[in-house]
Amino acid sequence: MKVTLFIPCFIDLFYPQVGVAMARILEKLGHTVVCPEGPACCGQPAFNTGYWDESREVAIKVLESLQGAEVVVIASGSCGAMMKVFYPELFAGTKHEAMARELAPKCYEFSAFLVNKLGVTDLGARFPHKVTFHDGCHGLRELNNKRPPRELMAKVRGLELVEMGAAEICCGFGGTFSAKFPMISTAMGEVKCASALETSAEYIVSCDSSCLMQIQGLIDRQHKPIKTIHLAEILVQQ
């Protein structure tokens, strides 16, 4: 099928390898991947800060460029939630409400797309390391994405998954929250890192690069003996 891949701003700028991995995986599975040129952002920062008019200016362009898409795979849980769950609320009562409601069922976060839509769990990947998984809040609670990443990891050769106690607790990113309340954000990130370190895992894996940016930022600053990696980067390794 024709898969429209939506690459959010921070993946485009900071973690392009995640998007590249996703495109390669989808193509290897035999699908055609298209990337809309225009939109670089789903509009969540303005939406979360309460500036819904300004958010709509960005989100409308997303709606327009995705109109007529067969399926939309979004490279992050938080943007996926924005488009699937929050666009209908953002556009409620406006002339774009119908477009938003039409888009929602077509949206998938990447791991959910592989497992729930394509029914694929084994990509022939190999990653002989001990890992623990961080459930990004949007993916977990807005998109019900607990199982798909774990089903995918179960098929990765050599991968050993150890769950951390704080897997489902927020890492503290929260978009602009991380800059508006940096001390709380940092404390939350520290709780997350401490829980991950208790598992003796080599890697913290997630389906959300914004979370990983927060966690890696702390790891680097505090010189913690653990690394972060996006699930797609694991799945593309043979």
């Binding site: 973690y15 670089a40 309460g50 300004e54 200016e57 609320e89 929260g174 508006k180 309340f181």
Partner: protein, 464 residues
């Protein structure tokens, strides 16, 4: 930035870095979580129970006038006196009036968050009454002259040594730091107060419309004694606490206990329907019920957020909130903390002064997920942010987002942003971590990733 917001930031900064506080709260919450999950699993269908509870509260609150009238009719028929207080000042005046009329001296109280809300204790003490909090946690924080830390566990933040210390200082009686012995000290002191008290003041968890009763949930028995021994009893209750029927308690009592404390049922769940009835030989001769509005009708009028009035004050959202766990209850600086507090306080006390509570959230959604009556808490935080920025826009933020829009939607501009970003990052090295650093909020405690040599969009363009 309002005074409250500045204070919040200051306290949050201090508490977030306090590792001892972090450990204390994490330990307490860990124990709670184990018990809570056992209770949820015992339910045959917890999710269906949540939906049932949500619908019951929806009926209760969306027909609030009818239910209040029914409640009043039924409880007045048994001799209770009902008073209507639109404001906190009216509520205080009503209660002080009753105390004056009854020539009271000693007042014993069981836990009532509404009384915190209207600052009743200060008003009574100022008027010369001796006021004793009977709930052990409330008793302890009263001695320490600080507000309760958590709506269900007022002294969660204290160690046994700190409690021993205040007992020694204020009561002159603290045999050891053993929790059992300390509890017995409180029991001895309070027993005498129950017997001395002229007036007992309680809150209520639910107001049953159908039968005209107030339902009070507790573990210690202090509310039972407050309602049994003094000659006059007063219950202060928010108007939103209504439930339509007596049998709705069959659902709400176990859900409240499961989420509040991880218990099957709390030790005492008691329904009070009036003063002592003919044939009864004890209980108060007079029973006054003060119905409190205090901006609840304003919340009621906001149809989008009306369901925040469904709250049964179980405290579950506080317990799962990572912000609450890291900054603690006192940091919120107001009666209701945690996610529910962050939702209702800006609406009850002023959007502009208290909006920061709605912003101090990563919107993780754990609160909405846990709420036994399915209040859409994190969506309400977003709505408060929207309302706040409409009421008083921050011009520089508005400008920033407006300027971002074309950059985020036009490939040529985004490409420019990318290139300028790379340049900026090179220069950033000069100011990184210092006060001149525009990204200081982040870089103070975390490293920033570099912009990639080739962004995704740049790579994609090379393919086609």
């Amino acid at each position: 930035m309002s005074t409250a917001a500045a204070q919040f930031n200051q306290d949050a900064r201090r508490l977030s870095a306090d590792l001892r506080h972090r450990q204390t709260i994490q330990t307490a919450m860990g124990k709670y979580e184990v018990a809570r999950d056992q209770r949820k699993t015992a339910f045959q269908d917890w999710q269906a129970a949540r939906q049932m509870a949500a619908e019951t509260k929806w009926v209760a609150v969306n027909h609030l006038d009818r239910h209040l009238e029914q409640f009043v009719r039924n409880i007045e028929a048994r001799g209770a006196k009902v008073h209507w207080a639109s404001t906190d000042e009216q509520a205080r005046d009503l209660i002080l009036g009753i105390l004056r009329e009854k020539d009271a001296r000693v007042i014993v109280k069981s836990k009532a968050m509404t009384s915190e809300e209207i600052h009743l204790n200060e008003a009574m003490e100022h008027a010369g009454y001796e006021v004793v909090e009977s709930d052990l946690g409330e008793f302890i924080v009263q001695l320490r002259e600080e507000p309760p830390y958590h709506i269900v566990f007022p002294a969660m933040h204290l160690t046994r040594d700190e409690i021993k210390d205040v007992f020694q200082r204020k009561l002159g009686d603290a045999p050891s730091n053993n929790p059992e012995e300390l509890t017995m000290v409180a029991r001895r002191v309070l027993r005498e107060k129950y017997l001395q008290a002229d007036v007992g003041i309680t809150g209520a968890n639910f107001a049953i419309a159908e039968t005209g009763m107030l339902s009070i949930t507790e573990n210690e028995g202090n509310a039972r004694l407050t309602a049994a021994l003094p000659r006059t009893m007063i219950t202060l209750v928010g108007i939103e606490k209504v439930l339509p029927r007596l049998e709705d308690l069959a659902l709400f009592l176990p859900m409240l206990s499961a989420m509040g404390t991880g218990q099957t049922l709390s030790c005492y769940n008691t329904m009070y329907g009036g003063p002592r009835q003919p044939g009864e030989m004890d209980g108060p001769e007079e029973y006054h019920v003060v119905l409190l509005d205090n901006h609840r009708t304003a919340l009621l009028a906001d149809a989008e957020q009306r369901d925040s009035l469904h709250c049964i004050r179980c405290g579950a959202c506080l317990n799962v909130c990572p912000i609450f766990r890291n900054v603690g209850g006192h940091t919120y600086g107001t009666t209701y903390s945690g996610p529910i507090g962050a939702v209702i306080t800006p609406n009850l006390r002023g959007l502009n002064d208290w909006k920061h509570l709605s912003y101090a959230s990563s919107l993780c959604g754990a609160c909405s997920e846990t709420c036994p009556v399915k209040i859409n808490l994190h969506h309400h935080l977003l709505q408060n942010r929207r309302n706040a920025s409409r009421q008083k826009p921050s011009w520089w933020q508005k400008l920033a987002f407006k300027a971002f829009a074309p950059m985020a939607t036009r490939p040529a501009l985004w490409s420019l942003v990318t290139k300028m970003g790379r340049l900026g990052q090179k220069l950033h090295g000069l100011v990184k971590g210092s006060r001149l650093d525009p990204a200081y909020a982040w870089t103070k405690t975390r490293d920033l990733p570099p912009i990639a040599q080739q962004t995704f969009k740049e790579w994609w363009r090379t393919r086609s």
